[in-house]
Amino acid sequence: MERSVERTLDSTALSRERPVLLRFALMQVRQKDVAEDLVQDTLVSAMSAIGSFSGRSSVRTWLTAILRNKIADHFRAAGREVSLTMDTDEGDDEVDIHFAPDGRYVHAPQDWGDPERTLTDKRFLEALHACMKTLPYAAAQAFLLREVTGLTTDEICKELKISSTNCFVLLHRARLRLRACVEATWLQPSGAQRPRKAR
């Protein structure tokens, strides 16, 4: 990198984050053109506020925070109730529904087959998106910030203003629910049967 001495932040550095931002938006806003607009808005806002970037957080964290607000505004404009405050207190029920009192699975996890094939299976990706929508807002935000944006849990805690314990719990619940939901949605024979032999 040529510009290594100064920590300058320019449009190139911002647009480098574009693909990740778009992915993050697309997981919540399913229309591609809307997601692209929101990301574009975010980059424009960021450019005009570039002086306010403190450098204390990463560029990605900063941009994601702007984008999250844009997405929330978009949902609100569409009449959807969105609270950016985190309601993290759901008790242990969310975890407990997946396990018997002795800690065993209620439903034994199934074989998902070859990972490469799974990742190109349109029905799998559809199930993933449908299941994302079933996550509680706080869990979905924490999960997307972690998995799509790749923020550390420290960054996520700060961003969502939650404790690190809370953060681990949210992520754990999100994974449990998402895994079970994807499995049930994707592997359940619905009309078109796909043969799947257990090994």
């Binding site: 997981m27 396990f99 996890p109 990972p115 990706l125 993933l128 849990t153």
Partner: protein, 63 residues
Amino acid sequence: MRMLSCKEANQLMSEGMDRTVSTRERFALWMHLSLCRACSRVKEQLALLRRALSDPTVDDERS
């Protein structure tokens, strides 16, 4: 050392994706996974979900 239950193993697997787990935790999980196929599946599936969400080559836009 007591064997982990599947529920405990799930929690450790998830946290292992977000923080550095201690040697003791890693060993306990390894012990559990070596005996439990269900949890081994879950471990792979969680990694797959991460890939599905973060890997730019996984493109669900083409249709």
